[in-house]
């Protein structure tokens, strides 16, 4: 018998008796089986206790039955009811009893957890059923393309007006915002925000040159429709009277007595049609419109058309209904289309604003 092993085992026993765990003594695989046995030896009963209890029980057994009192609540398993419960416990212990675990486990905890899971499943199934029952399909289509102005949200010119105008009195400030004066066939007085002469010898209404049948929107104060709102009153940095940054007696950045970019009167900037060198904008982000609750309840479906301008940065502007559907669906379509993003239309390789129409079809299945 190797004395080394004897000493090793004794050292391990000393460690166990001092409170060390068996895990800490697993470094010697040869001695491990014996160390494991040693770790259980301290749980062996005292022989005196065993014999003493036996004598005690025999003494009690010799007593009349009345002297032995049994606590019925301790009877665990021979009654059918209790036995049945034990079967439940083994199947699903914490539901019917409290349990032993790393954390306290109670039946109530499991019941709450169970209820929450049932509720979650109910929500999942209900929402799934609802989605199936209320499935909507919204089809979007760029149905047609309109021309539009680039920077000015002005009415489209009705014909082949390629003109424009501009002006200014070489002020240091940019032109202030306002409405261009009405169109006229002739111009006696160019428009001005700041009138240099308070008492003209011959007073005449300021006008810009253009077709009189075209009505420009009137905002009240005379000015450049594209100017910043908070600019102090100014005729602008252009020259040749008028308002703006261009030249001539018109309004805007063009040259002449008209309005907007371009020259020789009329509305500047012209209108852009897809084709003829102008490409159509293409959607790069187009979330579907939602179905309105009112339309869904009424099982209402159909199509509607929106008009909008896709500016040179691909943002939708001036979104409005061309053909209405109602039941709140127009608003839903405007709300969604306003969030769309486009690759802008191109003219000569440069992004330009293009007016387009979008058809939205709402359908319930």
């Amino acid at each position: 018998m190797p004395s080394y092993e004897i000493e090793q085992l004794d050292a391990a026993i000393n460690a166990l008796l001092a409170g060390q765990t068996l895990e800490a003594l697993r470094n010697d695989p040869q001695l491990l089986p014996m160390t494991e046995i040693a770790s259980q030896l301290h749980l062996t009963p005292r022989s005196e206790f065993r014999a003493g209890l036996r004598d005690e029980l025999l003494a009690h057994a010799s007593m009349p039955p009345a002297g032995r009192v049994f606590d019925a609540s301790l009877a665990p398993s021979t009654h059918p009811q209790l036995k049945s419960r034990m079967v439940h416990d083994s199947v699903f212990p914490p539901l019917f009893s409290t349990g032993v675990s790393m954390l306290p486990v109670r039946g109530s905890h499991l019941a709450v957890s169970f209820a929450l899971h049932v509720a979650a499943l109910a929500i999942v199934f209900t929402s799934g059923w609802w989605m199936v029952e209320n499935r909507t399909v919204v089809r979007k289509q760029i149905a047609s393309r309109f021309s539009g102005t680039i920077d000015y949200l002005l009415p489209s010119s009705p014909g082949e007006l390629h003109g424009g105008g501009g002006g200014g009195t070489q002020d240091k400030l940019p032109p202030s915002r306002g409405s261009a004066p009405r169109f006229s066939d002739q111009q006696l007085t160019p428009p001005a925000v700041i009138v240099k002469s308070d008492a003209p010898k011959l007073a005449a209404e300021p006008t810009v040159i253009g077709p009189p049948e075209v009505k420009l929107p009137q905002l009240g104060q005379t000015g450049d429709p594209t100017a910043a709102i908070l600019t102090p009153p100014s005729n602008g940095t252009g020259s040749g009277s008028g308002i703006g940054t261009g030249e001539g007696g018109g309004v805007g950045a063009g040259n002449g007595p008209g309005v907007g970019e371009g020259r020789d009167g009329g509305i500047g900037g012209g209108v852009y049609h897809v084709g003829g060198g102008v490409s159509a904008p293409r959607t790069i982000f187009d979330p579907d419109p939602e179905y309105s609750e009112e339309a869904r309840k009424a099982k209402y479906q159909g199509s509607m058309t929106l008009s909008l301008i896709v500016d040179s940065e691909g943002h939708p502007r001036s979104v409005h209904v061309v053909r209405s559907l109602g039941m709140g669906l127009d608003e839903k379509a405007i709300e969604a289309v306003s969030k769309w993003r486009f690759e802008p239309g191109l003219k000569n390789g440069q992004p330009v604003a293009v007016q387009i129409a979008v058809e939205v079809v709402f359908r319930l299945y």
Binding site: I13, F70, A75, T78
Partner: protein, 182 residues
């Protein structure tokens, strides 16, 4: 764990033992001897001190004796009934100690006689069968938790001899467990 079970099984039909004890409580001693080690092992693994283990084990057998007339044979081992009583008693102690329910007897009861309990019971029985000098050393060393020096002084032998007896005893236990001849 079949070899361990064999070691604790009695040749006598347990049912007959129970019926005999129900007719004559003084026959309860046979049931006690057959089941003591497993009940003690079950309890000792679940309470912190030897005193508490002895206290609960004694209570289990006293209650079993008092309630033996109520026991109905349903094919379940008698030790399972005893373990059930032990579980309730342990649970009550824990409740008293902590002030709230940490574990119920039902939960402990489902634990039943585990392999650990069986192994522990077998070891206890095997210790009783060791040669007297080895058994004495094991008792002194592990039950009374005496040092080698104290045991050597008590038995009038050298410390080396006591260590050898200790080694042989545990080696014997290991061999008997391995061979299944417990």
């Amino acid at each position: 764990m079949e070899p361990y079970l064999k070691a604790t099984e009695h040749d006598v039909d347990e049912r007959h033992l129970i019926e005999a004890a129900q007719r004559d409580p003084t026959s309860f001693a046979a049931l006690y001897e057959a089941n003591f080690d497993r009940v003690y092992a079950f309890v000792a693994r679940r309470v912190p001190s030897r005193e508490e283990a002895e206290d609960i084990t004694a209570e289990v057998f006293h209650q079993a004796l008092a309630g033996l007339a109520r026991f109905e044979w349903q094919g379940t081992a008698f030790v399972a009934w005893l373990i059930g009583i032990a579980s309730h008693l342990i649970a009550r102690r824990w409740q008293r100690a902590t002030g709230h329910i940490e574990v119920t007897a039902d939960e402990l009861e489902t634990i039943g006689v585990s392999d650990h309990t069986e192994r522990q019971a077998v070891i206890a029985q095997l210790v009783d069968r060791l040669p007297e000098d080895q058994r004495l050393v094991i008792r002194r060393r592990f039950v009374d938790q005496k040092s080698i020096r104290e045991i050597a002084r008590e038995l009038g032998r050298s410390e080396g001899a006591i260590k050898q007896l200790q080694f042989r005893a545990i080696e014997t236990l290991r061999n008997q467990i391995r061979s299944g001849h417990a």
